[in-house]
Structure formats: C-alpha cells, structure tokens
Amino acid sequence: MNSMANVVVIGGGVVGSAIAYGLAKIGGRGAGVVVLDEGDDAIRASRVNFGLVWLHSKGDGMAAYGFWTRKSCDIWRQFADEIRDETGVNTHYVKSGGLNYCLSEAEFETRTEMITRMREQADNDPYEARMIDRAELQRLMPRAQFGHEVLGASFGPHDGTCSPLNLLHALHAGLKKHGADYRPNSPALEVKPLAQGFEVRTPRGTITTPKVVLAAGHGSMKLERALGFDVEIIAERGQIVVTERVADMGILPANGVRQTVEGTVIIGSTTEDVGFDTSTTPQAGATMVRRQLRVFPALAHVRAVRTWAGLRTLTRDECPVYEASEQYPGAFIATCHSGVTLAAVHAKVLADAIHRGKFTPEIGAFHGRRLK
C-alpha cells in the first residue's frame, strides 16, 4: 500500500519519537508526519536506559555540546509538564542535582581535573558543577549511609532524572495526540532520493515524501549513504542492574546508582565494545554491583530483579551529529547517545529547525565533518 507524507521520521525510539513529536506539534493536524518503527524485538536503546537527564560531564572537549545539553536541562521541566498535560503520562522528571562518586584520592583528583578543565572551557557560560567532600555529601543527603571509601563527589546542580520508559510512552502518546501516523513493524528498508523529495520503502508499502529524517540509531547506518550522509555510529554495550522496590533511600542520583520513583535501584553501567551483542554478562553485573556496594553497603541485601544490556549509539567523539543534507535538500540525520537528556531540545529546538528546513549555527555545530 503506497502513501504520501509531508515528513517521514525513520526511528521510533526516544530520538526519532522526540523529533516526530515536535514536528507533529508544530505542524498541527495537517502536519502529515509518518513515523516508521521496527517491531517488538528491535535492538532498542530507548528501552535500556539509566534515566539521567545529565549535564555535568557533558561537553568535555566540545563546548557546544555542553551548551546544547544545558539548554535541554533548562527546558526539560516545561517539556515534561507539557507532555504530561497532553497525554496524562508522567515522565517523572526531577532536577535534583546529580553526583559522580569518588572512592579514592586518585579518583577524586582525576575528577577535579575534569571539572576544572570544563569550567575553563565553558568561558563565558557559567559551568556550575563543582567538587564536594564527604561532609557536604552528608549534608545534602542526611539519611544516606555511605561506605567508608566515599571521599566525595563531583556535583552538578542542573542534573536530574526521568523515567526513560515513561518518556518513550509519553512521546508515543503525544504522537497519537497530535495526529502523527505511527507505523510499528514497518522498518525503512530503503530510502531513495527522487527528482523532488524521497521514496521510503517499507515491508508495508512505499511512502513518498518531500522530507525525511533519519533517526534510527544503529539502523541509520545502512540507510544514510543513499541520502549522502556518512556518519559512523558505533555500538557500545551498556549493562544495568535493576533491583526490587525499596523504601526511599533519600539519595541524589549519581552516575552508576540511583533510585527510581517506583523505588527500584538502578546500578550501572558498563561500556563495552562487543558489536551487536545485547546479552548481559554476570561478571559485568558483579563488577558494577561491587562498586556501588562500596558507595552504599546497605544495598547488599536488596535483590536484583533484572539485568539489561543495550547498545549505545556513539559517534567517535561521543557528541551528537545533526546534519541537513547538502546533496539532497529535505534529508536530515540525527544521532546521539543522550536521547533522554536531549529529548527536550530535540522536541522543541531541533524539530523546529527541521520544520523550517534550516539549521541555526547552534545546531550546525554538530555537523559530522568535525569527525573527519
């Protein structure tokens, strides 16, 4: 069955869905947004996520990424409220401030160097993360019982968390609400530029469209060449461990351990180069857990209920790539590994630029040519 669309977004994960949601919202009922997604068993990084909306470690070596992330953190609250009011799905966004624990002098020093470096790099824009010692950690979290090795942490006041699964749910509900045509089990098999616009072939028919957005994570790799893109997306496995629900620990989220609104504790995460293997490994789980037990020894009796592995969609410098094709106007690519943190700017800023067909310098800074 063949059809027409005003814009086809390829990818129904958090990146594709956020852009499509933004496009559908800007365009209103007649936006003609089609979203193509894979099926139930897709390699779906969106379903394996720590749920951090995180600034303080972002942009080391690329200031523009730091600014872009800060912008997202600044508008996440408004984005979360809007989508909750529209769909009834609460993403549970909280800007709590976030930590990165240091368990030795060496770790504390390395972290201090990074924070100092980033503060200098940020020059005119205030970079507000700082190092805090154990006493201040205890003041921030009066009920927390730290292990004796906890010396301190880096602290980012703009960091926070959300429920990544609820975010995906909310985005899909938002797509429906704004009249987007979401098509599951319909992966794009081929995208062909036409004299005018594009033709997207799926197992359920071909769609003709003047505009196409490639946001399919690892799936983008096999489609991008036809549109003149050449972005390398590297699969990096990340594993997480999720526990049963426990009573409120009164802790701030940290890179590696946080408590969700439901009460489960998420422990993570690994960075492994293993290709497209999404299996979890007991040894990795044990290693991650051992570290977090050094932070919170009382977690020892809490039970792990699930382990997960997902594949991050990384570029060489781990920063996003956004491009508008020069060769085929109307074609766009968006890829990043922080789809949750950047969901707000994707839905509000990037979608707007794609709608207008023109990238601002802020977005243009993420062209992939920097990686060549």
């Binding site: 139930d40 995906l168 429906k176 098509r183 007991p282 039970r303 209920v305």
Partner: protein, 460 residues
C-alpha cells in the same frame, strides 16, 4: 567458587532424575542442581519423606516415584539441592547461587528439566488472601499433610483438580463444592480423539475413577461454570459464580483455582531458544528435536518444560535425554543410543496417546483467557488488563513494548504470572494470533538474587 561437570541437569523432577540416573549409570560425570531441598520436583514432591500408607498417597503413584528417586540417589549422579540457577550463557556457563554466594558451573551438556507450572489465569479477586492454586494446596498436602476443613471451594478445570480433590477428601479434607469450568462442548470435541486415547486406557481409567470417587463423596459439583469472582475486603469471604444466565453468591474462606498446567519456559526462553505456540495446549513450548535438543548448542530440554506430557512421559523423555547426553559426550555411540532408546520411544508413544484427548477436554474456556478491563493482571506491579490493552493499541506491537510502557512483568516474578495473559490480551485486542504477538523476553537473573550474592561472584 566455580566448578565443572560434563552433564549438568537443572531440576530434579521425574525428567531430571531419570536423565541424571541414565547418564550417570553409563559413566557420565553428572551434576543435578535443584532449587528444591529434596528430589521429586513438584509432581513427586516430598517423595523421600512421605509415608506410603497415608490416606490419598496411593493416587500419586507413589511406588513408581519412590523407585525413581532411589535409582537417582544410587546412580552416582551428584545432587546439589537448594541451588538456584539464575543465568545461562550460550557457552554453557551456568550461574547458580546457594542463597549466599553466586558461582559458575561450566558444563559440556546442559539439560533443562524445569517442568511445568499452573496456567496463571487472572480473574477478579485472584490476589485476595484465601485464594490459591490447587497445585499450591496439593504441595501443602504432600509436604505438610494440610487439607482444608471448612469454607473451601475448588474452581477450574484439569486432571490435577480431580486428583487433588480425591486426595484431599480421602485425607479427611472438606469442600463446600467444586466449580467446574470445563465447557461441556469440550467433551464433544474430544470424542474424535477417543479412539486414540483408548490406547492409553490406563490413563483414562485412572481419570474416570478419580472423578467418580469425588462425585460419589457427595461433594457439591456445579458444572459448566462460565466465570468466577473472588470477593472480600482484604481477604476472601465470598465466591461469585456465573452459571447459565445468572450469578450465585457463596460464602467462602478459601478458593483453590486451577486451569491446567503449562510448560515453565522461563529458563529455555532466557537462552533465546526458538519457541512455538502449541495450539492444542494453548501455551508456548520450546522447539526441540526427538532427543530434546534445543537450537542452543549443547542445551536440551526434557519433561513438561518441553510440552505437557505428564510425569511418566517426563521420566521417559529424561532417559532419552540422558542417552543423548552420553552419546554427545562420547560415552556411547549413536547406534548404542538408538538401541537403548527403542523401547523407551515405544513407551513414550504410549504415554503421549492420551494427550490430544486431554488437551481437548481440558482446553481453557475461551471467555476466561481475556479478563475484563478492571482485572489486575500483573500481580507484582498491579497492572490491569485495561492498561495492557491501551498500551498494546498505542504501541501496535508485542509484549515487550507493552512491558516498557506499563511495567507489566517487571516485578519480582518477572512476568511468570502475567506473561501468558498479557500475550492473550494483546493478541485479542489487536486481532492477531498469540504466535504473532510472542512473549516477554526473559531477563536474567531468572530469580531475584541479592546484590551481595551477585557481588560474591568470582572472576573466572
């Protein structure tokens, strides 16, 4: 602490015991890990501790199971009880825990003999204290001699229901009545399998005798029940029963429910081994060859976990899997295996003859498979059928996206109780078959384990 063996058997029910005994007697280094404290699995639970002369025990085919347990104990197979398997890797590293420390067993062959579980069918009020399964009551009877004395109802369908009712009555138990949900039409449809079933006359005779003994006891039996609801505030106090065109309301303090048994596929699914939808048994089962081999190298399955065939068939399947393990490990050759297997295969055929008939008679009542919107389906995360339906329609795909959207299946039972119902509900809502919908992916650990246990896992 890590260890190694040639043949690792998971589970010590009839299939696991028979497989281990067969292989060990041929000289295969065999280890059986069992989450239970003693051999027997569910069906032969407490076999080594029970008194053959106690009332009701005769129905359990006690002599046969005691003989199998003795054979297993004497076979030379090592037995490690109270051991929970929590993850299997493709390379046959099997991760276990004794409750304090996780460890790894490396095996050349692994047999999954994790048996069956009762079909979990959500209905209104099924989470109320006072409601439990017939299988649960039978375990209490087998291990503790417990039978109900007042205010108890049995509801549902299936051979186990009648077996338990007969046992419990003989042991002095009392029931207010039995609410039989078996559709009358099932018996008519089953007649076409009647001739075949006659080849398994022993099974039929036993089944008929059990039903007759229950009916003769004078216990009230309400046939062709359409629907059941458990009522009460914080605990069961009434059962609502729908028959014909009206509801009846009965006082109750205990409701024992049963809707047949299904393969416990949690372990085989965790390997991402291929599974098929068995239309007759209305359940998923792993795809295995005649020896039980799965499409995961070096892994096999035997017993009810491969498809419901009953305890006696499970033991035979276990022996076949034990022979195949011995062959794969080079202890016997294929010709020796085939020769020893021949009488077993004939015996298995005999046991399987009754299945199409039983599957048809006790096929679950269609109306019970897709609960109403307000019924709680996921007991752990308190997710209703309505939430599942809405997420299914929004996602337009299967249970894994629905799980992500709703948390259905994310609690400690890891989808064991809600998974089949979620598949049915999604399939029904979207107008497609259960095969097209699939099931929850299984995430390790297969059972929750404490972070301390996990952290104790030593590097290889």
């Amino acid at each position: 602490m890590s260890s190694a063996c040639d043949f690792l058997v998971i589970g010590a029910g009839p299939a696991g015991m028979a497989a281990a005994a067969t292989a060990a007697k041929l000289g295969v280094s065999t280890l059986v890990v069992d989450e239970q404290p003693a051999p027997g699995g569910q069906i032969y639970r407490g076999v080594e501790q029970r008194d053959a002369n106690k009332p009701g025990v005769s129905h359990d085919d006690w002599a046969r199971c005691a003989a199998l347990a003795q054979e297993f104990r004497a076979s030379g197979a090592r037995y490690q009880p109270n051991t929970q398997v929590w993850q299997l890797e493709k390379n046959r590293k099997v991760y276990v825990s004794d409750g304090a420390k996780a460890s790894c067993i490396t095996a050349k062959r692994v047999l999954i003999a994790t048996g069956a579980m009762e079909r979990p069918l959500p209905f209104p009020g099924w989470t109320l204290p006072g409601v439990m399964t017939v299988g649960a009551a039978q375990i209490l009877y087998k291990t503790s001699g417990w039978v109900p004395h007042a205010g108890a109802w049995i509801a549902g369908s299936g051979p186990l229901l009648w077996l338990y009712a007969a046992q419990a009555l003989e042991a002095g138990g009392k029931f207010e009545g039995i609410l039989d949900t078996t559709p009358k039409a099932n018996y008519v449809h089953a007649l076409r399998h009647g001739i075949n079933a006659l080849r398994a006359k022993e099974y039929l005779d036993r089944g008929m005798a059990l039903q007759q003994s229950v009916r003769k006891s004078g216990v009230r039996i309400i046939d062709d029940v359409n629907a059941i609801e458990a009522k009460g505030d914080g605990a069961l106090n009434r059962v609502h029963v729908h028959t014909g065109r009206h509801w009846q309301d009965m006082p109750a303090t205990r409701l024992l429910v049963h809707q047949g048994i299904v393969p416990n596929t949690h372990t085989t699914r965790s390997l991402n081994a291929a599974h098929r939808w068995d239309k007759a048994q209305h359940a998923f089962a792993p795809v295995a060859d005649a020896w039980g081999n799965l499409d995961a190298e070096g892994y096999a399955v035997a017993g009810d976990g491969a498809g419901i065939a009953g305890a006696e068939a499970a033991a035979v399947q276990g022996r076949l899997a034990g022979l195949e393990a011995a062959r794969a490990l080079g202890v016997i050759d294929a010709a020796q295996r085939d020769q020893q297997a021949m009488p077993l295969q004939a015996e298995l055929k005999q046991h399987l003859a009754i299945r199409p008939f039983l599957d048809q008679v006790f096929a679950p009542r269609a109306g019970l498979l897709t609960p109403h919107d307000d019924v709680l389906v996921c007991r752990c995360e308190c997710i209703t059928a309505k939430q599942i339906r809405e997420a299914a329609m929004l996602a337009g795909m299967g249970p894994n996206q629905v799980k992500a959207f709703t948390r259905c299946g994310m609690g400690p039972c890891q989808g064991r109780m809600c998974g089949m119902a979620a598949t049915e509900i999604i399939a029904h809502a979207r107008g497609v078959s259960a095969t097209d919908i699939g099931v929850f992916n299984v995430r390790p650990p297969l059972k929750p384990l404490s972070l301390a246990e996990l952290a104790a896992l030593q590097a290889p």
